[in-house]
Structures are given as C-alpha cells and as structure tokens.
Amino acid sequence: MRLFPRYQHSRYNVVLPCPDGGHILFNQMSGMLVVLDDDAYAQYCGKPGRDLRRLLLDGKFLVPQGHDERDDIRKDWERTVNTTQHKSLTIVTTDRCNLGCVYCYEDKADWRNMTRETQDRVMEFVRVYLTSTPTKTLDVIWFGGEATLNMDAIERLSAFMIEECAARGITYNTYLVTNGTTLVPNVIDKLLACRINRMQITVDGIKEDHDAMRPFLRDMKIEEMTDAQIAQRRKTQPGFGVSLSIVGQEPTVRKPRSSFDEIMKNLRVLHTRGVRVDLRANVNHLNKEGVKKLKHQLQEEGLADKHSSGGQIVLYSHPVFESCTGRSDAQMRKDEHAKFEQELSPEASRLAYTGETCTANMNFHFVINQRGGVTKCWQHATDVSKQIGTVEDLELARVGASEKDRYRFSPLDDPECRECHVLPLCLGGCKANNNFDKEGYAGEHHMGCETVRYTLPDKVMRMYQSNKPNDSPT
C-alpha cells in the first residue's frame, strides 16, 4: 500500500482487531507488538504524524518505499549459511538401538558402534575443522541409533572436543538425542561429566500408546514385526524367527518391559539432576489425546516445573507420517498439527525474525555417522547414497559442504517460500522435508513448513494476551 512519498507498509505486518478496543499491530521482522486506538490506526492507514511515523519505523512497520525486505533476509541468509564462526556437528555414535519403533526410518545396516579407530579419524577431522577457519562456537549433537549404547565414543570424543575448544577459546555447546531408556544414574553421571545437560527424549503419549509405538526390540512378537524389525532383531539374535515354532509364542520368557515406565523413571532422576529435557511426542490422530494426558501427568508430578537443580521437562509434539504407521486416516495434516500444537502448548511465545535456519542449510554443519561417513542432515545419517564424503576428506573440514551438497535449498529462491506470509519466522523450515514435499512424498501435507504458517494470527493474539498491561483498553 502506498501511503505517502517516502514509506510503505511492511509486507510482514499482522493487523488484528483488538478485543480491548483498537487494533493490534505486529511486525515479524522486528517482533514489535503495539495496540493502536482508532485515531492512530487511521493515521497508520493514511499518513502518520511525526511521532507515530518514528515509532512505526522503529518497529519496521514502515519501510522505505520500493524496499523489498526479502533483500535484507537474503543478505542475512547468505551470511548465516556461509558463516565459519559458528560450527555444528551431529555425531552418530552407533546405529544400534534397543527399541523397535514402528516409524523408524534408519535401516541400521551396519548395526555397530563407532570404533576407536573411526573416533580417531573424527578427531583429526574436527581438528582441521576448528582451525582452518575462525571459529567462535561449536555445537555438538549426539545421535544414533541409540547414542548412549556407545558411551565410549561420547566420552572420548567429548574429552577431545572440550579440550580443543578450551585451548582455542571456542564456546562448546552440546546436546543429546536419546530414547531415554538407558539413562540410569551412572550413565547420567557420565553424561554430565561430558557437559551434556540438555537432551531430547521421545514419549509418544500415555503408556499404552507409547509402548505400542516404541517397544523394546527384544520384547516384540515376530508376527507384529516388520521385515526391517526382524532383520534388526536378528543382529543380536541370529536365529530369531528362523524356527516356525517361535511364531505365536511369547518372544521371551521374561515379562516384557515397558519402555514408557523405564523412561518416566529416568525422567524423574534427570529432573533432579539439573537436566533440561525436550520431551518429544510423535503424534497422529490415534495418540493425540494420550499426548494431552501425558502433559497432565507431567504437570501433576511437578516435572513440567523448573526444579531447584535447574532441571525441567518441556513437552512438544511432531507429526508422524502415515507411511510410518500404515494408517492413512491417522496422519495429521500440517494445519491439523498446528492446531493440536496450540492446544497442547497454549503458552504464548515470543515471535520475531532471528535469521536462524535449519542447520542442514549451513555450509559448516556436518553429520558424521558411525563409519565416518558425512551427510548434511540427520535424516540421511545412515543413508550411504546421501553421503557427501567421509571424515578422511579434510577438504570438507576446510571449506565446508558448499557445492558438494546436492540438496541445497534456499527459501529466497523457492517460489512458494518467497511469497509466503511467514517467511521471516519460518525461513524455509526443514530442508529435508521440503525436498520430500517437492518430490511429492508428502502429498499436500507441507511437512517442510513451520506450523506458524497456519497459526500466526492466533500466536500474535496469545502474545498480546500474555503481555498486555492490566489497564487495557488503550
């Protein structure tokens, strides 16, 4: 909209009627939220006076006429994805796992831990990686399989990287992705010694739902297993299922254990040990009510509250594809999941453009698997066809993935993302899932997008309700 000679409205303004009178005005680029009374709003729509104009410029509600804010985003994008100063690694310590989750995508073809010899190669890669270009921070994510089944790799590599970073004045951050079943007290001690005090654990709702979706592999009945799960089980028990007599029998003489019970027991300990847990619930229409009940359980047990040690369990959700569950009626579309997310977590969050992007887009982010293979995304961690090199390729460590990344993605060059009304808040979302969207795997589900695409007005209203002064209306 053209107002007057010098300025125009930002394309990233959100305008809502205010329940307390006037209009709510929010800008995604600045994160500023104001309420305008009718007179001020009329000025906003027409020609703002000097003081209002100054405020609107501060809040980026107005931009110079003819200016395209996507040019600013592109500049930030180029700087972010090419940065050498902030580096991140995802390290797969093993592709072994003790669970047989129904939706697991990893083929676990190796079924082995990262060896000490491979760890030594990783160390050499990291040394070159940290010293070839200026580095301020290193983020390391431990991943698997079940990463804690190879504590030796976590401990050895952590000690090396902590020392390297300390010697070079580099800030070291670390994070663990784990199924949570192995975190008995002495393992927690070891993790804390490796500075791992933040992690992701998955619990898919109430016990009944969770145990059905994430059973212990050794406790599964063969008639309930997929071919991949049977193959996985045979890695530890070669004769499993070969004899027909085993079909229809209980899988083990032991009473099957509940992975839900194990995890909840460990969560209670983690909470008192100062660990922040991002508790992920993979959700579809079958377990969504159970996920809400899980939230109540966490609240009733006090686990959702911050413990005096600093520990906290924060629940969030992610949708599961129908191809993983075999139920076409079960999958949530992205807009349905966005709505569910709002129901599950009604708390307001601060919205604002930060320039952050999926790390798989960044030239100096690598995923290193248990064999020393290098990919760009953890979804491809154990997929040899997606490798861009190995840790022996020290040129990767020196110059980054750059042209070797066959799955490069920029929201500024994608026609749909570029025109999207939430581009500053989403910045293209998940790179891998965007490619799946483009290849048609996800149909109309828009799995690459952030849920804010569907909930922006609601989120802005929650921001207002949460932050408004008590003396409203304006």
Binding site: G31, L55, Q200, T202, A432, N433, M447, N467
Partner: protein, 58 residues
Amino acid sequence: MKIWDKIKETFKRETKETKDRKPPGVKIITPPRKESDDPGPKGTKLVLQPCTSQLPVA
C-alpha cells in the same frame, strides 16, 4: 565548552527526547527484538532438535 560541542549535546538531548516521546493512541506491548534477547550466537540455533519422525518411507 566549545560551541560545536554545545550544539551536539543539544541535538543529542532533543533527539533522545523526541525518540522517547510515545505518540498518543499507541500502547507498546512488546518492544522490537534486540540481538541480546537471544542467548545463542546470531544465525544459528543454539540447540537443535532432529526431526526424526517426519521422514516418509519412500
């Protein structure tokens, strides 16, 4: 004080006063985000959460 310093001081004070003056009919609910609002380094996510369940089986 030199005349030029006086002019600069006056300009600085008046600019600040003008900037701080809240226009009538406006209630600021949240101010613009500042770089210091985020704990992590600019341009990166401090903590990453792999999206392992979203992968379709091709």
